[in-house]
Point group: C2
Chain length 271, copies 2
């Protein structure tokens, strides 16, 4: 970590910074955002903050406000020109027991990490055995209860496999472990509607917006593994890693096709 | 908190003790146990450690071993004669991203809290709107992904209502927010089999064992809200709060009956 800010204060010792009574630690009671810092700016910051605010509303956590968060994020942007900026917002420090205390101040943790190389090459993916559980009250938001994703990523170590696709408990195709999934059918896009689980990705939203500007229809709908059979292209989206063409899954291959390319070009032109 | 031990070291400042990179904080990637300390001993310690070890196996976290944990727990028992002892075990400090690093040392957090009064009076409960999601790979263990329980307890503040009963996403009756549920039918017990969700409570296990010694049959099976209609007694179990008779739910009443009493007597005789 290049820098850490906890509740607005630069953290001298990140290894001893958080309370043993923080509810993020004890119950995963909080939210997070992982953002790409490039040329001194956080990409899609408005969308990240909007999703965080939405998550706060769902969990009943006090949103700290755009102004405070933008100020702290700007401070981190002064440390490095590029990198990955992670914001964790927990419900705060509480007493023992699930019930949130009244008037708890949320804990804000901003950490800056080195960039990951952003590549455009197509990737190989696999199926994960771990399923996503369904809970419409938690669907879409980026909360801290992420054991399912942790165990899914723990299923493989082969560096040639970049991501794993995840089904929910009923067999719907929801997302990758840390990305949303799009399929191309003819000249149209489809992506999971995420009504029961999965995270409403910031780059997912941006791709849907850009598709509109390119005259490409987007269908948010339940997807199933069979939908991959009829896809002409498949790609995944992640705010840090961008748009990645999926070119292989279990021996099945897709081209890194023109619809995906046009979306990636539109995204880069917008940057 | 009366005392805190982090990785075996007495914690001088519990408010600044945990790494911002701890995976318990970032992903709820860990487990916990909440134990009752009484007359200088932890009640049902063997069962708590067995459940923790089981959870470690499921999550792929290195179990620290009975010997080390018993030594640290014994140290906490020397601080006070009675109280609540909480053990949080996370996967440890890691780098950014869901995938666990190899060879991470788990983080052990032991905290001692003041006792809660243990009462035998019957309690009133309510239905929670929040549903439990189904994931058989996580069912039974006491992991740190607890947003569902947090939001369920946040649904009410009426101190006359002690607990909330929770259904899963398909409508099965699973448990209370922080307790298991038993119903009495004739002279037999039934409790949820927890195959999809819920925590396999330590006192739940002890009640099943004691029922055997009393010649009371126990059925672990799917329960539904309708099963409450035909119950002659209803009670909930929690390692800290003991066996509590449920005497009212939404206007429906049950007696604090003789089967529940006999189990509570057996539990107290065993103490």
């Amino acid at each position: 970590m290049l820098a850490v800010l906890v509740n607005g204060v630069e953290c001298v010792n990140p290894a001893q910074a958080i309370s043993v009574a923080d509810r993020g630690l004890n119950y995963g009671d909080g939210l997070f955002e992982t953002m790409r810092l490039q040329r001194g700016r956080v990409k899609l910051l408005d969308a990240h903050l909007a999703r965080l605010a939405l998550g706060c509303g769902r969990l009943g956590i006090d949103y700290p406000g755009d102004e405070l968060l933008r100020r702290e994020i700007a401070h981190m942007c002064s440390v490095a020109d590029a990198g990955i900026l992670k914001l964790v917002l927990t419900r705060g420090v509480g007493s023992r027991g699930y019930r949130p205390n009244d008037n708890v101040a949320p804990t804000r943790i901003l950490s800056l990490h080195a960039s990951v190389p952003v590549a455009n090459a197509g990737i190989r993916v696999r199926w994960c055995d771990m399923r996503l559980s369904r809970n419409s009250q938690l669907a879409g938001i980026k909360h801290l209860n992420r054991i399912e994703q942790v165990l899914a990523q723990n299923e493989w170590r082969d560096p040639a496999i970049e991501e794993g696709l995840m089904l929910d408990s009923e067999g719907e195709l929801v997302c990758a472990t840390a990305a949303n999934v799009f399929i191309v059918r003819g000249h149209e896009l489809a992506t999971s509607d995420l009504r029961y689980c999965g995270v409403r990705g910031v780059l997912r939203g941006e791709v849907i917006r850009l598709a509109g500007t390119l005259g490409i229809a987007v269908h948010e709908e339940p997807l199933w593994p069979e939908d991959l059979e009829t896809a002409s292209e498949v790609f995944i989206t992640n705010a840090v890693r961008g748009i990645r063409s999926v070119i292989e899954l279990d021996g099945r291959r897709w081209p890194a096709g023109s619809v995906t390319d046009s979306l990636r070009s539109a995204l880069e032109a917008d940057a």
